[in-house]
Symmetry: C2
Subunit: 429 residues, 2 copies
């Protein structure tokens, strides 16, 4: 058990103060230390190691946000949603719940100042860019990379109730879907086809607009994605699901008195023609790989979505899929050492690993890789019918990295610190 | 906000592959990433930094244990108590709940194999040793450093119901209290005077035995501790409280519907003549400081004990006190760079930072340093009258270090890995 060698020389050898040429940022939405541990226990055992465990530099990252107010000093929100957290690393600045790469303001419906994102800065530097998620590609995490809007709900032109100023017909930048294709991200892969089937204010659907005005090639199945071999002349928009993509495992929902599956293991479910997150990540890397460098954000989105539903199998499966994407990113980094790879979450979540005899609260038990039972319980108010969703929590979360300037994730950092690290800090040596 | 410089050079400069001369291990019982974040928010603000945040090397540490069984392969316990976890870093080996520096066995009442501890190995190497806690000094965490017994409850000679084979009158090593003074730890400071007032099987109290047979000088107040200036001729036993030492803050117990204090802040409470954890730590370092080196374990014990009681103020205060002890240890390390300082917890716990509108579960709200409300909720079964205590949880926890071989806490490690690191690994360069 454990490791036998002093790691000092290995760590010294892994320090690279150069600015990164390329950056791959892999996010598990809601992936905190508790969920990583639960997935490790289930998938490889308590003493096993995930790919994301193996990055040489690691630290703790704070994820707090702001609340709307009169400003200029806004109240602190000790628990945040996925919009301000993704905006944090995307722009280097804090903002309020629901907001995408825009500053705080007096109310949720009042737009803040647009903040330029890492992805946009890479674009300006003439580098290629990619944005990949298992959620709707217009969901908060991927949206923050390349759109600016006061309310995350405004994903398509038919969803603009809280964002009237942003409507294109009002002279705004449009919905998240419109902004993503306007930004010209070279590789956009995920779910959310229904948003792109909505009519723009000008008439055609967002998808038609993406194809005819923004020159996007469109893929809707794993096979169609496989067939894409270059983004040199056309960026690619992959929409593999109407809404969020299908999770690896069927749901196991915690309930009062305890839930489990017939044999204690999570059941794989049919994902039809959808590509896996690893397949999307490998394709994105292949398409973006170029001597000038690229920025790629990859999200395992439904760790969070399953946790909200108290679905331990859904969350574990999504984390397993993200871990395979990490494995692919690390393989690329090994042959392209000028690439910085960062793996982290956006905020902590509800799942707690609890004793087997935990009792009354909503729990589920699975048989872990070691062959022994692991029980989880969920933070929740349990109020209402049905009980409210399990909620985000405010703990700092793990961040890990390898490659140029990866040392900047050690100790305790804030997620806004990733912004300068991904853009490349002035080398210290 | 955030840091502006690339940290690569600083981190490279902090790597020291030499074996440490001295080791100071500071433990917050139950101190996981969630509790660290809650204490930081309350004490210095969401963007503030605790002393324990500032150590240059950091990682995640797994804390699982074993369950009793036929062996040789024992079932995994994904949530552990303080006995096997402290035994893990003390001995480098896993064991079962309730057990102190002994291996697993078929039942809780059946002794396992004694495992030699880091403290004992330092003693054998002719170095000085110290063991400091705000709990009874016979409680699981300090006990594991220098005693070996099948059940942690066997703290004094009158508490041996589950440890009959260990009774001195049965030819055993005796209770934890007896073993601690038999081990000759040079500096033993904490609570638990009532255990030492118990009669040994031979007749005199443990305290009398400690003084007359084991040559201990005894201190019972901060002033008496102040007066101790050397352990060259007599080791020192400080017992400052009948049971656990008094917490910094009065209790704020979470309840259904939410609890708070009149002004939102935690109220300091009278601690009489008890020294603070920082005072005990500074005195221990002063007494142990010598060219040949020492091992010192310091525990902020009641982070855990307060969390069990859903007492957020108690837990925050105890973490603040530990953080001051960390500050003192770091100041010593700065002038004694051959000292390895490690700061971590033993296992995760129940406290979650939740949204303000969390609702029904047991919550408490305090006004954090930023001036804004922070709400916490607790894992618990809520069954029984009164409801069961909040429980330990199974998440990996933060570990941080500075000094020789501190790089060995980076990435993902198990708490048993600390054993070889504290003893000093073969330098890699
Ligand atoms: Mg997301
Ligand atoms: Mg303890
Ligand atoms: Zn999220
Ligand atoms: Zn969420
Ligand atoms: Zn403990
Ligand atoms: Zn405990």
């Amino acid at each position: 058990m454990g490791f036998t060698q002093d790691r000092s020389a290995d760590l010294a050898g892994a320090i690279d103060p150069a600015k990164p040429t390329s950056v791959i940022l892999l996010i598990g939405d809601g992936m905190d230390d508790s969920m990583i541990t639960a997935a490790r226990n289930y998938s490889v055992g308590a003493a096993g190691r995930l790919a994301l465990d193996e990055l040489p530099f690691s630290g703790a990252m704070t994820t707090y946000g702001l609340k709307v107010g009169a400003g200029p000093d806004y109240p602190i929100a000790y628990v945040s949603d996925s919009a301000p957290t993704a905006s944090g690393w995307s722009t280097g600045k804090k903002t309020v719940d629901g907001r995408l790469s825009q500053g705080p303001s007096t109310a949720a419906t009042v737009p803040g100042e647009d903040y330029e994102t890492v992805l946009e800065k890479f674009e300006k530097a003439g580098k290629l860019t990619g944005d990949v998620s298992t959620a709707e590609i217009t969901d908060a995490t991927p949206a923050a990379a390349a759109s600016h809007i006061n309310a995350r709900a405004c994903q398509g032109p038919a969803n603009m109730a809280d964002c009237t100023a942003a409507k294109k017909s009002n002279g705004g930048k449009g919905s998240v879907a419109e902004q993503l294709v306007d930004s010209g991200v070279d590789v956009l892969l995920g779910g959310g086809a229904a948003r792109f089937a909505q009519a723009t204010d000008a008439g055609p659907t967002v998808l038609d607009y993406a194809k005819s005005t923004r020159n996007y090639a469109v893929a809707t199945t794993a096979a169609e994605l496989d067939a894409v071999t270059s983004v040199a002349t056309k960026p690619v928009l992959g929409l593999f699901s109407s809404a969020n993509m299908t999770r690896k495992y069927a749901k196991l929902e915690a309930k009062a008195g305890g839930a489990t599956t017939p044999d204690g293991t999570c059941a794989a479910q049919d994902r039809g023609t959808q590509p896996t997150l690893q397949a999307m990540t490998e394709k994105a890397i292949t398409l973006l790989d170029n001597p000038n460098g690229f920025f790629l954000q990859v999200e395992g989105a439904s760790v969070d979505k399953a946790e909200h539903e108290r679905d331990i199998c859904g969350a574990i499966g999504e984390l397993e899929e993200l871990d395979l994407a990490v494995k692919s990113a690390l393989a690329y980094q090994k042959t392209h050492p000028d690439t910085l790879v960062i793996v982290t979450g956006d905020h902590a979540h509800s799942t707690q690993i609890v004793p087997d005899d935990f009792g009354g609260s909503m729990t589920a038990t699975v048989t872990a890789f070691d062959g022994d039972p692991m029980t989880v319980a969920y933070s929740s108010s349990y109020a209402g019918t049905p009980p409210q969703q399990a909620t985000h929590t405010g703990a700092q979360i793990r961040v890990a990295a390898i490659g140029p300037q990866a040392a900047n994730v050690t100790g305790v950092i804030d997620q806004t610190d990733l912004f300068a690290t991904m853009l490349g800090r002035t080398p210290s040596t």
